[in-house]
Structures are given as C-alpha cells and as structure tokens.
C-alpha cells in the first residue's frame, strides 16, 4: 500500500496547478472572462471536456489524472461548467446518438453556445422517475412526435435553448418500458416556462409546460421505448458527481475561517466547545469520505469495478454539504436573520440562503432515502 501519487501523477498535478496559475482570471475577471478560461482549457488539449473520450476531443486522462484534475479545479474554485450539456447529455449522444446527432449537437455543447436543460421530473414522477406521463405520439406518417405534458424542477430551463426529455410512447408493460428520449427546442411556441422560486429566494428551477410540440424523429435518441436504459446510465453518472468532496474540503476551511472571525467573549466561535466539536466531527467524516473516494479510484485504476464503497458517496457527500452550510448559518448568528442586505459579518449575507438552498442536495439526483434503498438492494442484498 502506498498513499502517495506516483512521480508521473505528481508531475501531472504540477502541470494542472501551473496551468491554473497561468490562465485562471483573477477576482471579478472570473465572471467576465469565463470564455477565455474555457478556450485556454480547450487549447491545452481537451481539458474543457476532461471527461470526454479522446475520440470526441477529450484528453487521454488515466482515472488518477482525472481525479487530480477535478481536485485541483475544485481547490482553485475554477468556474464550473453547466453540467447538463457537457456532463449529462454528451455521454448519451456519444453512446446512443447517430453520427448526425453527434455532429449537430456536440459542438454547441462543447463551446457553451447552446444551453441544455434536463426534462425528467414531473409532478407525478420524482424519485419514482419511471412514473412519468408526458405523452409523445408518433404522427401517422411517422415523421414526428407530438408531445404533451408537464415537467417540473427543471433546472435553468429559463435560459436553455434545448431540453433533453423523457417521454412516454407506450403505457403497456412495466413502467420502465415505453419511455422515449427526445431532444426538444425550447423556442417552440408550445413550450411555456414558469419560474419556481425556492425557499432560498433564488430562481433556478422551473415548471415546463409542453403543449402539442412537434418533434421530428431525427431528434429521437436511439430506439423508441428504450429511453429509460439510456437515462439510467446517466443517472448513475450524475450521482457519483454530486458528492462534491473537494468542494466540501474547501468550504469547510472557509467555514472555519468564518467562525474564527466571529468574536465570542475573549475568543472566537471556534473556541466554543459545542460549535468546535461539530466542526471536528464533520471534518473527521469528511476525511474518511475523501479517502473512500480514493479507495474507489484505486480500484478503478487497477481495472476493477468501483466497489461497494462508491455507493455511499452521494449519500454522505450531500449530507456533509448540508452540515457545512449549517455551520455558516450558526456562525452568522443574529445576522442570519437579515434577508438580502449585507449587515454584520462579511460572510453572513449568503449564509442563510446557502443553508436553505443546500436542502436540495439530498433531494435531487435521487433523494437520500432512495439512495439508501439502492444501497440496501444492490450492495447489501436486502430485498
């Protein structure tokens, strides 16, 4: 056993760190110069699409290099990409799309000119996603589908140009069959997007009403009725990415700094045993989870399956994200009650909305309770 990265991997880590130092825009530039950052990543050799296979322009990273790459990007708070195109739809297009579909959609996904949203959840289909009811009926001449229904919790639908959408083309047989994967343009007059303001006060998710939208069959991915199979692989992919370990490592350090800036008596909040022990308990678990991710990586690097440990990443990782947001909320003290106006501690303004917003992490991408069902069944063999 050896906990150290190899010389080659350490050299790669240095290369990534140097690249970030040379290319990451500073301060406010981060927002205005995002495009240049992604361009630099692209010119470096496909680093803008680090998870894509080389055949589609991605870099030839080993599993360890990819881990190091993700870790360094998170540690340096580099601008994230919207996950829907690059991370979620692209792998499906690569695996199940036609050459025409790949040529048509992948370039816009990669250069960020086309925003995508995910049309999965419905009012009657949340954790039980296969229960979806949005109908897609093939026209008599077989050239297009007519889609009717409603999607909900659709993240960033209000800025999306396209939606990848699960629709029902057949209601016979088990629920998982008869689902068809369609690509729908959001500028169709039959699409109506209504905002949902979440309890943190932000507008991220939406309702999407779909009324008599005609979708040409060229916009269907794979075979009719097989959409569930395509989406399921994606869900697994989505879940492993949601643990956010390195972001949490960074966020916990920030939360400790915040607490140290809060004066309590002669000391700071970090001297208050009840608070400090919560920080310690959280950090110990995060250390363990971080190493659990490395155990998974080691198994994959050795050519094996990720192993049962990987199943706990989303479940535990999101719980930790929530607990870090709680620390900030508590550190904000009385100022946590102020809404919107910057008063009191410098970090206090965002603390409450971040805490409220973080409640979603154990709901989206498979609620924690569903994750437990999945682990019980697939890992522990419980009926």
């Amino acid at each position: 056993m050896d906990i150290e990265f190899s010389q080659e991997d350490l050299a790669f880590q240095k290369e990534v760190q140097d690249f970030i130092k040379d290319n990451l825009p500073k301060g406010m530039d981060l927002w205005t110069k995002r495009g240049e950052w992604f361009q630099a990543l692209r010119e470096k050799g496909g680093w803008d699409v680090a998870k894509w296979p080389p055949a589609f322009g991605g870099p030839e990273f080993t599993p360890t290099q990819r881990y190091i790459f993700d870790m360094e990007m998170a540690r340096h708070s580099t601008p994230p990409q919207l996950p829907f195109g690059v991370g979620m739809l692209a792998p499906i297009l690569m695996n199940y799309g036609t050459k025409e579909q790949q040529d048509r959609f992948l370039p816009g996904i990669r250069d960020g000119s086309v925003n995508w949203c995910q049309g999965y959840s419905e009012p009657g289909a949340g954790s039980d996603l296969a229960n979806l009811k949005t109908r897609a009926e093939l026209s008599a001449d077989g050239t297009h589908y007519v889609v009717n229904g409603q999607k909900i919790w659709t993240t960033l639908a209000h800025i999306a140009h396209w939606m990848f959408c699960l629709t029902r083309t057949s209601s016979t047989g088990v629920k998982q069959e008869g689902i068809t994967f369609l690509l729908i343009p959001m500028d169709d007059p039959g699409i109506e997007v209504k905002p949902i303001i979440t309890l943190g006060g932000s507008h991220t998710v939406n309702e999407v009403y779909i009324t008599d939208v005609k979708v040409p069959v060229e916009n269907r991915i794979g075979e009719e009725g097989k959409g569930w199979t395509y989406a399921k692989g994606l869900l697994v992919h989505e879940r492993t990415g949601l643990a956010g370990i390195q972001n949490s490592v960074l966020a916990l350090e920030k939360a400790k700094d915040n607490a140290r800036s809060v004066k309590v008596g002669q000391g700071t909040l970090m001297d208050v045993p009840a608070f400090r022990n919560k920080v310690g308990a959280l950090e110990a678990e995060l250390l363990a989870l971080e190493f659990t991710e490395l155990r998974t990586l080691a198994q994959v690097s050795a050519g094996g399956d990720p192993g049962p440990e990987s199943s706990i990443m989303k479940l535990k990782g999101t719980e930790i994200q929530q607990r870090i947001s709680e620390l900030n909320l508590e550190a904000a003290g009385v100022y946590g009650a102020a809404w919107g106006n910057p008063v009191g501690h410098s970090f206090a303004k965002g603390a409450t909305s971040a805490y409220l917003g973080a409640r979603a992490t154990t709901i989206y991408g498979g609620a924690s309770e569903v994750q437990k069902d999945v682990i019980a069944k697939n890992v522990l063999g419980l009926g």
Partner: protein, 374 residues
C-alpha cells in the same frame, strides 16, 4: 498510489482467516474467556510458530520487517475473529515500544522472547485521576543512586496477570499533568513491591489494578530518555489506536453482516425483517459507518507508517470516528436482533462488548475529538 495489499499481505490475511475459521468459533472463544488466563497458551505458541508474533519487528531484531499495514491486516482479522490472545498488549503496545525506543541491550533481552512466544509484556499507563489524559501521571520514580524507586497505582493494565514485563509510565519531575518529566521503565512483573488485583474485562479479556510500593528498578531499565518519556508513551498510544481501529473495523464488519443475515431469516408480520424499509435504511447506515471507518483506518495507518506530519491529527480523527461508528453499529446490531440481541448466546453481544472496551482505551471518542479540533 496503490491501495491494494501485497502478495505477502494477502497470504498473511488468508492464513489468519483460515486459522480463525478452524480454531475460533464463539463456543471455543467462550471457553477461553472463562479459563484462568483468559486465553490459550497453545494458540499463542501457534501464533509464534506461524510467524505472526515476529511480523512487526525489523529483520535486525529477528523479525520479518513488517509495516504498520501488516499489523492492520492482522488486527482486522483478529477483530473479525474476536481473538483473545494478548497480541495487542505484547506485540503492539509493549513490543513496538521496545523495538523503536529500546537500547540494544533491552532489545536483545526482550524481543527474541516476544517473537518465540515465551515473553509476554504490557503497558501500565492509566491512572485514576487522569481520565483519558496520557500525560496525567502521579506514579513517581525517585532516583536513588543509579536506581529508581517507583510508587503509585496503575489501572486497567491489560493482561497484566500474564505479563512477564511491564512498561510503566512514571513521573520523574514536573507537575502531575505536564508532558515534561515523564519517564518510562521496563519493570519485571515479579519485582518486589508489586501487588495486583486481577479481574476480567467486560469483553472477556483480563486486566489488573497494579500497586507499586517502593519497587526498585535500575537505570538500565529506563525506556527512552529520562523525563522525555511522553514521546514514547504517545507513540505507544498512536500505534495502539491504529491497531484498535483495525480490530474495530473487523468487528464492525461481522456485526453489520450478521445483522443482515439475521433480518433475512427472522420473520414478523408475515415478512422477513429485511423487507422493512426502516430496517434496510438502518443497515445501510451501519454499512456506511463501517466503510468510512475502514477508509480512515487505512489512511491513518499509511500516514503513520510514512511518518507524515498529518499522522497525529488523523489518528485523533480516527479514534473519534471509530468510537462513534462502533457505538452506532454495535447498538443497532443489538437493536435489530431484538430480544436475541440481548442474549449472551449470540456472538454479536461479544463483538459489541469488545467495541465498547476499544472506545475506552487510549482516549475515548470525546477525548480525541477535543484533541482533533484543538
């Protein structure tokens, strides 16, 4: 980075598993825990013959040059088998301290006997007023010529009744809670002035209260530097914590797996318990606690074996996490076994009790959480 075991470590694990399978079911263990010494001298000799007692010692000292990872592999299997032989006290606590800090004369005198199974040792560190503070020591060693005179009482000394030699932490100078002024001595268990009260521990092992009344030791019996014994003592604590953590991981694995097996065959309300969601989720949480404990045990063990600057902090985090996980897994194993979980008959009770004792040794979870965040 490579987190797999070496070929030798796989063989070691296989031979331990086979031994435990052949020699160590719960009824055999119960016989041992009810015997005079609380373990089997025959088993101990076999441990020696199989090379397990020499694994952790360097080749120069006559051992096999094993690492902390080898000890982790062994302790995890001992944890699964709930092994009662005094490996922890003799090899991990006593032996590794001699090997790292002993003079060449001390090593030559003591290590061969450990490896061939003829010498048992332990460490007397706990005191009544200390709670979990390693440095809080009121037992004194007073210089008299080249000798030292030890007076004081040590508590819950593991396997002291079987031990031939005991490392005793004493105060040679400084205030009773100072890390300075601590000195360790290797004391012959048969020395004049030593009296013991022996008793079983809740997990079926043996321990003693030991009183030292004007026990004379020579300067040659000092382990490490005079007044600088805290370094040695802390090293013993760290090594022991890593070993205990691996043992706890092994015990937790048995507990969560036994619970799964039991809920599959036990029916209530016309269904196996394993079909009830509230129980499935609880067992998932038990599995998570076990997995995280195993991860941090691996990490801390590797950091310690590489003398990393992060090792000390990680070991504090580990002892906290192990304590918390052990309590959760142990309590829920009993809970999900229902009335059967309360019986002496099932082995889970014994694993649960072992985990309780592990938390109490070398600082419990609260103690180490405090140290971790300090």
């Amino acid at each position: 980075m490579d987190l797999s075991y070496t070929e030798e470590q796989n063989l070691l694990r296989d031979s331990l598993q086979k031994y435990i399978e052949d020699n160590y079911d719960i009824s055999q263990r119960n016989k041992l825990t009810k015997s005079d010494t609380g373990y089997s001298a025959t088993n101990w000799q076999q441990f020696a013959d199989l090379g397990w007692l020499g694994m952790a010692f360097s080749e120069a000292d006559g051992g096999f040059g094993g690492s902390a990872v080898d000890t982790m592999v062994m302790m995890e299997e001992f944890g699964k088998g709930l092994v009662v032989e005094p490996f922890l006290s003799t090899v991990v606590m006593f032996g590794s301290a001699i090997s790292e800090f002993g003079s060449s004369a001390q090593k030559e005198q003591l290590i061969p006997g450990i490896i061939d199974g003829t010498l048992l040792g332990t460490v007397a560190y706990a005191e009544l007023q200390a709670h979990h503070d390693l440095e809080n020591i009121e037992t004194t060693a007073t210089a008299e010529g080249d000798d030292f005179i030890i007076n004081g009482t040590k508590s819950v000394v593991l396997h002291a009744a079987s031990a031939d030699q005991i490392i005793v932490s004493t105060r040679t100078s400084g205030a009773s809670d100072s890390k300075e002024g601590i000195s360790l001595f290797i004391v012959d268990a048969a020395s004049n002035g030593i009296s013991r009260t022996d008793y079983p521990t809740v997990d079926g092992l043996r321990a003693s209260e030991i009183t030292f009344a004007d026990v004379r030791v020579s300067g040659d019996q000092l382990l490490g530097q005079l007044d600088q014994g805290y370094t040695v003592l802390n090293k013993i604590a760290n090594r022991t914590i890593l070993a205990l953590a691996a043992e706890a991981v092994g015990a937790m694995e048995v507990l969560y797996k036994d619970t799964i097996a039991y809920t599959k065959q036990r029916e209530q309300f016309d269904h196996p318990l394993s079909e009830f969601q509230v129980l499935k989720h609880r067992m998932t949480e038990m599995f998570m606690e076990y997995s995280l404990s195993k991860s941090l045990t691996m990490k801390a063990t590797m950091l310690e074996s590489q003398n990393s600057a992060d090792a000390q902090r990680t070991i504090h985090a580990l002892k906290y996490l192990i304590g918390k996980a052990s309590r959760f897994v142990g309590q829920n194993a009993v809970q999900l076994h229902g009335g059967m979980g309360m019986t002496e008959e099932l082995r889970i009770a014994h694993y649960f009790k072992r985990l309780m004792v592990i938390d109490s040794q070398f600082g419990n979870m609260d103690h180490h959480l405090e140290k971790f965040v300090a």
